[in-house]
Amino acid sequence: MSAIQVIPLNWYLLLSTVLFTIGVLGVLFRRNAIIIFMSIELMLNAVNLLFVAFSSYLSDSKGQVFVFFIMAVAAAEVAVGLAILMMVYRNTKTTDINILNKLKW
């Protein structure tokens, strides 16, 4: 029995769901762009945790490989995201997203 399986699977499921929900709420309610990025990372890492737990319980390595894909893509996304944020910051001198309200009907 591997170290991961000391804890029952349902607890992992619960923990990931809670972490994911915190991430979702962070994206919806926080107004600082950097914190929104952090919340998105939290969402993705909750998913990673879930993948690793399932992978261990199913004795199947595919889930862990998927985690590497997610990590690589998340890194690329944050790189692009921070570049876009820098571009916004140069034009507005703030990271508060309330300034971004030019486009609406």
Partner: protein, 457 residues
């Protein structure tokens, strides 16, 4: 498969052009390369190989949709030549577009959830950057930022769904998931159903179906016009092909879990898209809402989930892409002349440039679904597919929605022919004129001989 490899190589070549100093010629090289890739792609018809260790399958569905994507890309390249004329960032823009196309090809041919995820991300990350290409324009910044946040947010939902489905079935392969459901009909764990719903939410964000459409109008309006055209045609085609592939292969045996949700989403998308479009004064935003509305029509075929679905959607995206390319090409010319995209800018186009006005009218009629254009048969096939599955009320809603659609498309046509212009001359380049005439012929040809595409799948 060859298309994917060649597209990625072409994208890398475009990056190398900056170093080895042939960036003056790289646009032409890319365009010729795309035309070559289009024909090479057709050679894969009937081969149906399982490629990359069964992670992708290049079946008829994949070849047909990637051909639509590639032909739209060729037309898009011709219309957006000026986008690649600037001295700086020329090669970056080109390679990002080519990588986005590679992502789109992955999205139409995946059989493994990992490839679905990678395809979506390759496409999306390139699009985030392209949306923000006008670095000093605050609208472009805002659009890029919103697109990035909403894209990453929806990816989170998609991944959580994939994780739960993996936990239930132990597989990422869409065919194995189908076998799993067939084998254990009544004892599928409940997390599987949660996973299906989360994936549904994630993919609805990507195709901009209501109530997850709110980012689309903002992003479409803020992005450079040519990139908006790219998003409205190629990205939508790829996202929808991916959506349909997943739901028609993996989840078609458990329609009971998602059919009601998709029903409501379809009705909402049709009504919200069409009715909100009526109130718009910015043409770009109007076309953005019209693109949301067209997602609704495509969702109808997805909901039908029968043997007509894929050919109906293939025809729909073809007709819709051709119509959109024309409208955005002309809109781009208008924006470059007047500096704004208000509907009033179209006033008197019928007198000042009859060719543009005529082609624009034809494209708008096609988008509105009026015979003898391609759009009429596109709607006809979609409605037939959904009618055969027994969703009669939804067909009525869709017909009502198309009537509303006719109203706002005619607003532009009326502005062009019945209002006086401010007497500015509007000039299209020779390439643009050829493009417009060719696509106009294609729209009419597809309206007269729709069988050509419908028989493919």
């Amino acid at each position: 498969m060859k298309a994917l490899i060649l597209l990625s190589s072409l994208g890398t070549l475009a990056l190398l052009a900056e170093i080895f100093g042939f960036k003056k010629r790289i646009f032409l090289i890319s365009l010729l390369g795309l035309i070559t890739i289009f024909f090479v792609n057709l050679l894969d018809w009937n081969l149906a190989p399982n490629i990359f260790f069964g992670m992708m399958q290049y079946d008829h569905y994949a070849v047909a949709f990637s051909s639509v994507i590639l032909i739209t890309a060729i037309l898009w390249f011709i219309m957006s030549e000026s986008f690649f004329k600037e001295e700086t960032n020329r090669t970056d823009r080109l390679s990002l577009v080519l990588f986005a196309l590679a992502g789109a090809v992955i999205m139409v041919s995946y059989t493994n959830m990992a490839m679905l995820f990678l395809g979506i991300e390759i496409l999306s990350i390139s699009m985030y950057i392209l949306t923000g290409t006008l670095k000093d324009d605050l609208n472009s910044n805002e659009a890029a930022f919103k697109y990035l946040i909403m894209g990453a947010f929806s990816t989170g939902f998609l991944l959580f769904g994939i994780a739960l489905i993996y936990g239930a079935t132990g597989s990422f392969d869409i065919n194995e998931i189908k076998e799993f459901i067939t084998a254990r009909e009544s004892t599928v764990p409940s997390i599987f159903y949660v996973g299906v719903l989360l994936m549904l939410i994630g993919l609805s964000f990507k195709v901009s179906a209501a109530p997850f459409h709110f980012w689309a109008p903002d992003v479409y309006q803020g992005a450079p016009t040519v990139i908006t055209a790219f998003m409205a045609t190629i990205v939508k085609t790829a996202a929808f092909a991916a959506f349909l592939r997943l739901f028609s292969i993996s989840f078609s045996d458990i329609t009971a879990t998602w059919v009601n949700i998709v029903w409501v989403m379809t009705a909402l998308t049709l009504l919200v898209g069409n009715i909100t479009a009526v109130a718009q004064t910015s043409t770009k935003r109007l076309l953005a809402f019209s693109s949301v509305a067209h997602t609704g029509y495509m969702l109808l075929a997805l909901l039908a989930d029968n043997s007509y679905s894929s050919s109906a959607i293939l025809f729909y995206v073809t007709a819709y892409s051709f119509g959109s390319i024309v409208t955005f090409c002309i809109l781009n010319i208008i924006i470059n002349t007047y500096g704004n995209d208000n509907i009033n800018s179209f006033n008197g186009l019928g007198k000042s440039n009859p060719l543009l006005a005529f082609v624009m009218t034809l494209a708008l009629l096609s988008l509105a679904g009026i015979p003898p254009t391609a759009g009429f048969f596109a709607k006809y096939y979609v409605f037939t597919a959904v009618f055969k599955s027994g969703f009669i009320y939804l067909v009525l809603i869709a017909i009502f929605a198309s009537l509303v659609g006719v109203y706002y498309y005619f607003k532009i046509i009326i502005a062009m022919y019945f209002k006086d212009s401010t007497n500015e001359t509007i000039q299209a380049t020779m390439n643009q004129k050829i493009l417009l005439v060719v696509v106009a012929f294609a729209i009419i040809a597809l309206g007269i001989f729709p069988d050509f595409i419908i028989r493919l799948l």
